[in-house]
Symmetry: C2
Subunit: 204 residues, 2 copies
């Protein structure tokens, strides 16, 4: 339930963040496109909240312990323009997916199926990747700035993840499984993130 | 096309506004519920934008002339709390529906069907009406403040509508049809609004 609460809040806030940041788009068509892509996240939120209710939990209560971590992450990583917003969408989505994949092995079948549905939603990440690639191609000078921004996002993300883990032993146990450590997981996520940055034309 | 552009932008911005204002909710469950209800608006936006494209128009261009009117309306009617946000959702949705109904008679069949689909979307307005009724019942003291707020919203809305009409003769012609005047239409919308305010427990 801790894990489902964390994921549900992550999806709800990813939705809100995308709709907010869509205002940074250079035109109304792209602004609307990011909002439309964000709908996949609020649908995922609903699936996760329904699962929590099915398990007898109050979704709002299950999400509450993680509110502050997300709030402080967002406060320290507010994008200044459309490309920074897209890097945050692409990177945030991808790191979240890697994280979900890493922990889903330990879950029971119903939850694993739910997770598969959540992971199948890639509209926002695809839109962001396409736009970033086009921007880097049109003006290679943005690469350095966006690469730096991506590193900062990952750094802040790792900080918050360590904070959440330190405050919630049960969740940490579930996340690392037996034998693993949180640091090893975070290193793995960071490596996968670096490969992905390369694929949209950014540096590690 | 002017009319479809106005409606499309109205739906896109209604979606964004609801997601922003959802942050005023007293708990995460209601915050998520308003965001979920808002999805109907972005779906309506997509229907209207597709129709514009079908007619050979660029949706972003068709929407652009109305951006400033919506922006200044929102800047002057920023809700201070959850109940004010809900009154804006309920009232905005209802006035928009009345307006659409008033003008749809003059449209061709394909567009009339599209408008029927747009009007059938009432998730956000229903949620808002239910919450407002419950709040008024729980604390009748909020009635005065919310009634005043609703009157202010209508007043600001009429101001912007007159501004848009003055700047766009073609649209005004379409809106008032033959024989009618914009003032008569605005009076009719105001009257319908007053009836609706009563139905959720507010005063005119």
């Amino acid at each position: 339930m801790d894990l489902l609460g964390l994921l549900a809040l992550g999806e709800l806030l990813a939705f809100e963040r995308m709709v907010f940041d869509a205002r940074l788009a250079p035109d109304l068509a792209r602004r609307a496109a990011l909002s439309e892509a964000a709908v996949g996240e609020i649908r995922n939120y609903r699936l996760l909240a329904d699962r929590l209710a099915e398990l007898g939990a109050d979704p709002a209560e299950a999400m509450a312990p993680f509110k502050e971590a997300f709030r402080s992450f967002d406060a320290s990583t507010s994008p200044r323009d459309w490309l920074e917003a897209l890097v945050k969408v692409h990177l945030g989505d991808a790191v979240a997916d890697d994280f979900i994949r890493a922990v889903s092995a330990g879950l029971e079948e119903g939850d694993r199926e739910l997770i598969a549905t959540v992971l199948a939603e890639t509209a926002a990440a695809d839109l962001a990747a396409e736009e970033i690639r086009a921007a880097v191609k049109a003006d290679p000078a943005v690469t350095g700035r966006l690469s730096l921004w991506a590193r900062r996002l990952v750094g802040e993300g790792i900080n918050r993840a360590q904070g959440v883990a330190a405050a919630n032993e049960r969740l940490t146990g579930l996340i690392v499984g037996d034998g693993g450590t949180l640091d090893a997981l975070l290193r793995r996520l960071t490596r996968a993130h670096q490969d992905r940055m390369k694929s949209v034309g950014l540096n590690n």
